[in-house]
């Protein structure tokens, strides 16, 4: 797509409109509000540099998430190379404590459980559970078959539940109509 003045303006408007959702996704992916904000800032800068690569403006949400995801992987690799140990204390001291919650302990359990999942599993849980994408949209965004979306999602949810039950073996909720 040629980047003309009109397209550039349309692009920046669409980018601005995506920021709240991108921040939500980044916070859930990273589990740390401040780190998520830094990641979104880097994502904005890269998106502005690479605006010409976005072929359809409607797909800007998925495009931004994929930039953010790549930046996060780069950051994890860099930190690993530098020997920075990322442990769960970081998570406990981050988002959960600044979140007003009825049941603080269960929020921390949930965040801790989410943080133990692989990035691939967290990604699929968030795209469907938080961002509300349907299976086909996720398949398109991740460029994987819909069957892979389904099996990956099932494994991710099973692992999350397993972690939750391991960390707080209290009686699970029942009574919700199926």
């Amino acid at each position: 797509m040629p980047v003309t003045a009109g397209h550039r303006d349309a692009f920046t408007v669409a980018l601005t409109a995506q920021l709240p959702g991108l921040r939500r996704y980044a916070t859930a992916l990273v589990g740390n509000g401040a780190a998520a904000d830094d990641l979104v800032q880097d994502c904005i800068e890269r998106a502005l540099r690479q605006a010409a690569k976005l072929e359809e403006l409607q797909r800007i949400g998925g495009w931004l998430r994929s930039i953010l995801h790549n930046l996060y992987i780069d950051d994890l690799r860099r930190r690993r190379r530098q020997g920075v140990k990322v442990d769960l204390a970081d998570v406990e001291n981050s988002f959960a404590v600044v979140t007003p919650a009825r049941d603080h302990a269960s929020i921390i359990d949930f965040e801790r459980a989410l943080a133990t999942l692989t990035l691939e599993h967290r990604q699929i849980l968030l795209l469907i559970g938080l961002e509300g994408l349907n299976y086909q949209e996720v398949a398109d965004e991740l460029e994987i078959p819909i069957g892979t979306v389904m099996s990956r999602l099932a494994r991710a949810r099973e692992r999350l539940r397993g972690e939750m039950e391991r960390s707080s073996p209290r009686a699970p909720e029942t009574g919700t109509s199926p």
């Binding site: 003309t4 003045a5 009109g6 397209h7 550039r8 303006d9 349309a10 920046t12 408007v13 669409a14 980018l15 601005t16 409109a17 920021l19 709240p20 959702g21 921040r23 939500r24 916070t27 859930a28 509000g33 904000d37 979104v40 800032q41 904005i44 800068e45 502005l48 403006l57 409607q58 988002f95 979140t99 919650a101 929020i107 949930f110 965040e111 849980l125 968030l126 469907i128 559970g129 938080l130 349907n134 299976y135 069957g147 389904m150 099996s151 999602l153 099932a154 494994r155 949810r157 099973e158 999350l160 539940r161 939750m164 699970p172 909720e173 029942t174 009574g175 919700t176 199926p178």
Partner: protein, 249 residues
């Protein structure tokens, strides 16, 4: 229990996400009524899914850091200050044309109002006072016909329900080769999209007239002027959804 339908993990999660066929979903609903373990699993997975939204959903409601908006503004300014040679020629040509047009326009109509915006505001006013006029429709299907009759088969009526706005009326203005589409939200706020053929230039502008925000967004083929009494942020969200939703699949 060998006569029970086998449920794979994938099917169970597709059921939770509403992605399963109606028939298969009914099987699982029936099964969960007497299989307590299955009902417990479904409830637990649903609770985990709801927890994600409960925990992180509010992050998306917070105002975004000003630094992000500054980064975008700076990038926009840079591209305005250092345009490509091709853009400089285009700007020079546009300026020359603008000088000629403004001179002509001021002779015809001694007002500094942008004609595209003035037409859209007049159409919005007409549309809001003439809700029962001939050519007014209020269903998405009928609105699509009106839009396509006037603007061509590649254009469709945007669906703004994601942002809480539903179609109130679409009004054909054949003499102007334009369509006005009004949407209303739960508090009866009106958001109007005025569609017409583009004069052929790309344009994006966000304007304010009193409490009214106006977003002009046009490409070489279509001009969309969006009007509503709302914040800049809300206008940006609605305008983006509306503009993206104008293209028929």
């Amino acid at each position: 229990m060998s006569d029970r339908p086998q449920i794979t993990d994938e099917e169970l999660h597709a059921y939770i996400d509403g992605e399963l066929s109606r028939v298969r979903a009914a099987d699982i609903t029936a099964l969960a009524q007497y299989d307590r373990e299955l009902a417990r699993k479904i409830a637990a997975f649903r609770a985990d899914k709801a927890r994600l939204v409960e925990l992180y959903g509010p992050v998306g409601e917070r105002p975004v850091p000003a630094a992000w908006l500054h980064t975008i503004e700076r990038a926009q300014r840079r591209s305005t200050i250092w345009p490509s040679r091709q853009t400089i020629y285009a700007i020079a040509a546009s300026l020359a044309l603008m000088v000629v047009s403004m001179a002509t326009y001021k002779i015809i109509k001694p007002s500094d109002e942008d004609p595209t915006v003035a037409q859209a505001l007049a159409a919005r006013h007409e549309s809001l006072v003439m809700t029962d006029a001939a050519g007014t429709v209020s269903t998405m299907e009928a609105a699509n016909h009106v839009v396509q009759d006037i603007l061509g088969p590649t254009i469709k009526t945007p669906d703004l329900s994601k942002l809480g706005y539903t179609l109130a009326a679409a009004h054909a203005m054949p003499e102007r080769k334009a369509v006005t589409i009004d949407y209303r939200d739960g508090q009866n706020h009106v958001f109007t999209v005025y569609l017409s053929h583009s004069p052929g230039t790309e344009r994006f502008d966000m304007l304010k007239r009193g409490a009214t925000r106006i977003c002009v967004w046009q490409d070489e083929e279509l001009s969309a002027v969006m009007v509503g009494e709302m914040s800049a942020g809300e206008m940006l969200r609605l305008a983006t959804l509306a503009y993206a939703g104008l293209t028929a699949a």
